[in-house]
Symmetry: D2
Subunit: 332 residues, 4 copies
């Protein structure tokens, strides 16, 4: 059986997912929708898919599932529309910037018994997944401490943070999900600090460009996150997990494995400069997992609930900064 997939949104991330669908065993891209007809047509042509409207796709008999890559503000509505239409839904994070809207959306999905998977792609990164596998295999005993370092190559234009929900909702949210993925236990308290060290314009908009977070679980596990909007040396993505019997870490994945030795020392090239090249394999594995989930009876993972919880951690971080204290997740 081949899963017939429609893509909603033919932008940057849409293109990545189209390629992932094409490469996934048992899946085929059959339709593309985008407000910009030309973008939709170009993308569709490359994969032998047809251009359709969103409503046409919702009504189509030859579409089993949709991959939602449209702007965030449309996510919740589209999830509900396609859940109602009986399609399996993969949606880029976040579901919405409002916790209440996310909750109402998930309630609808649950009532319909629909399949919804959220695009926390990093869980599918082979390196981070290997860290999780090592934990599951008992290699480090009980998890005690997680350290996540996550830095972007360069800060976005200040205007971006006006619609993104700010650093905690657009950037740290990936690390919040990774924290939950690695801790294996829900977060109980969140403490966060935010600074404006890179771009004062970001500060004027009430957001931060540098952040540190410390979280704890009920059993006393601890997790730190270190975020910066700008790392001159590239897209810095590392995780470490310390446990009772050892530790496991994922170093940065490097574009090339060469090293140059000169009078000045030993130099390796900078890291990836873009999240799409860094996480290319993760995007492919993510869509493969979505395809495998459909009709398998297995619960999709990451689920809508995972999307909700990561967003709640972002809310807690913002409250922590405002009140200069650790915020309990039971307060959110």
């Amino acid at each position: 059986m081949v899963i017939r997939i429609a893509l909603l949104g033919a932008g940057r991330i849409g293109k990545v997912h189209a390629k992932a669908v094409s490469a996934a065993d048992g899946a085929r891209l059959v339709a593309v929708a985008d407000a910009f007809a030309e973008a939709a047509e170009t993308l569709a042509a490359g994969y032998g898919a047809s251009v359709r409207t969103i409503d046409e796709i919702a009504a189509a008999d030859d579409v089993d599932a949709v991959v939602i890559c449209t702007p965030t503000t449309t996510h919740a509505d589209l999830i509900e529309q396609f859940a109602r239409a009986g399609k399996a839904v993969f949606c880029e994070k976040p579901i919405d910037l409002s916790l209440d809207r996310v909750k109402s959306c998930l309630k609808t999905v649950e009532e319909l018994g629909a399949t919804l998977m959220i695009g926390f792609n990093r869980r599918f990164d082979p390196h981070f997944k290997a860290v999780r596998d090592a934990i599951d295999a008992g290699r480090i005993g009980d998890v005690e401490m997680v350290q996540i370092t996550s830095r972007d190559p360069g800060a976005p234009p200040p205007s971006y943070v006006q619609t993104s929900g700010g650093i905690f909702r657009d950037m740290t949210i990936h690390d919040f999900d990774m924290a939950r993925f690695l801790l294996g236990e829900e977060v109980a308290t969140v403490y966060a600090t935010g600074s404006v060290l890179i771009d004062p314009e970001i500060g004027k908009l009430g957001d931060y460009d540098s952040a540190m977070v410390v979280m704890t679980t009920a059993s006393g596990k601890q997790c730190s996150i270190s975020n910066s909007r700008r790392a001159t040396y590239g897209y810095d993505q590392r995780i470490e997990v310390h446990g009772s019997m050892g530790a496991v870490s994922a170093e940065n994945v490097r574009p090339v494995s060469i090293e140059l030795a000169t009078r000045e020392g030993y130099t390796r090239p900078p890291l990836h400069d873009f999240f799409m090249t860094r996480y290319l394999d993760a995007y492919a594995a993510e869509i493969s997992a979505f395809v495998e989930t459909i009709g398998s009876g297995k619960a999709p993972s990451p689920s809508g609930e995972d999307g909700l919880k990561a967003l709640a951690l972002a809310e807690a971080a913002l409250k922590s900064i405002a009140e200069r204290r650790a915020v309990g997740m039971d307060e959110i």
Copy 2:
């Protein structure tokens, strides 16, 4: 313009090339030929190509180029047949195990003015290519010494070496080509040693499973190769180039970037266990380069001449072992 490509040979390496053709910009797989009809059909179906005989492909108007992945013994004949048919030809190495046959084949190709590219895929590995780029950029000054470490995960069945031409012609040949690629100057002398340390059956067939080679150029550049048919830790592929102003090296490419720390120490997983996973990117880049060459007026590289020269180095290595002395390339 789209280059229409036919694949000759639907075996293991044929599948890799079919995928590479499909992924290359400006190329399409239109036909597949294989002595085993089922293999041809399965592969063709996956790419919307048709199954045809070799002669049909040679006569076809809708085929611009062929990728030859058939057994070595057929290479030279097929190259000649398709060069005569006016198709651009990509052929897996080696052209033939006989230097004379290679020479006569290349003569035919030259007389016909045909396009022939040989599959020394490692030149297209992004890591090794980055080493070459660093040299070209003058980062290490003049090249003085090249060190190539090349070890397979496990020895082939002894029967394999009976048709492969032995370790120097089936394995070291890649390193001979890499040596030429990195030295930037033709090899003048070859000294080789061979031992049977892994599988006595290989020795009974007159071949070796462990080898070291030292080569020099006219200007005094030096190059060493270290080969083993078996490395328990995986497919070990490293190069180092030492020059007047520095050195540049390519470390092994690792399947995952994780490290586990325990009471026993810090452990990274083994290397790739298969040349196809290790060189996946190289195969794709190689076919892309072939496609770009066709009709561009640029000389194909690696050329048939490169194929000839690597084979001549293998001949010299065998002569060196037999005579326990350095063999001049002018003797071959």
Copy 3:
């Protein structure tokens, strides 16, 4: 001129300092005092020094300086006694567990114009010092974020924390000093979490064995510390500093540089299992710096004030845990 030094305390750390004095240019160990006569005698004999009482040393004409390695409870009194006696004083950290006692002691030292240096040895570690030097050389621009990972090979007996002042005063205190050393700006707020994950007995005594700390400065610089009393893989000591133009880090220093590759992967041996072997060079450099300071007119560094400030950060961390909020250093 040779600085004549007396050692107070011939225990574990006293032996390390005796060796450092002996190796330092321009210094000689002339006297040793210890409550256990045998310990004093053995140590003195090894360096041609004499055994004396503390009062004899204070009164001696042939002693220029003392190195205090006695139990913490005696530090403040001894500092005052020898400052009054006109000797230069090097004292192991901490000066005292009570902030008030430290303040009164430093007041006495200041009034006497005495030389007092505190033993924060890690500032003298060649690797950590090289990080500081890179910052000073402008290699990473403005410091924005400091990450300190500091884990002991094994937890101390629970009884130890009863006199040590607990994890923040006996272990994290080194990291607090390192944070100040690297931030280049005083800490403004401290948030800390503490867990008992390793030894419940430590928890029964009101202390923690696992801790994370986040600190900020007035300008918005951020610093995280991750502490564990037990790392199976050895004494884990790493620092990272992220700045506006780059980052600089010090990896763990490894006892041996070997790596073993087998079917199971690539394994490097565990880290040092003891702070004294890990920081051997730091102890030597620290005493050399002390010797150079004496009579040079230069202010000793780390100073008594540095000792006070690190202790105040420990106080703030404890207050933060008790009140689950960020504590301002102006509150301490």
Copy 4:
């Protein structure tokens, strides 16, 4: 019992050994001899030793052993003189540049039953020793291939090679000894190439500044050596041993463990720029081993025989270059 040691030669390497004697348990430096009185006096003063003539030392009752650090041309005579005087002898390599003179010297030593240890310090390097230990522990199974990379930071003045015996006798000789140390089996054949790529003056004197060597043993083990007189990135000293069950390697030992990340990439500082800082621990361990050997009844190692064999390998290398063929050690 304390071994009383006299030092012959107070030059650069003499100073290193004096410090090593002083640091060794159970040893004391009692006398120093040097043609330059001032050098002897300065060195002796630092350790409370007396300055004496060579003959006085040979006749002295209070000297148990000598450490010979004088010019190479004096080594054999001094070894014989002190062997006759009943002193244990440690001598820097080489014993002599003439194989015949080495043989006659060793014959004398043997007839006298004297203790003679040769200064192949690298066997005592903790990192290289750990490689040997891993082999002995069976971690890599049977040794199959050894690869030694050994490069100096900078070429010596051409005049040096006139007295040193040339690159194979002054530099590669260490690698020849390391090859024997790691192979665990005597070398059967030697093939060498030499080039002049760095300093034409070295070539005019009949020597080489760049060399590669391949050696085999009777059982088929293989070993390569790569030497250069100049590596801009520092003193490059690496070994790799590949065996039937795995491989073990020693990476370069780095002066500092820091890494700088910037827009240009990740840079670690250059290597040590001097053999004495690189091998400081090795020199200390070597003298400790000598001290422990004296009076223990254990055979000294490396022995005079080891010195002879390394020199014979250098002879074979030169013969190989001259005759462009593999030279059997039975020919030397």
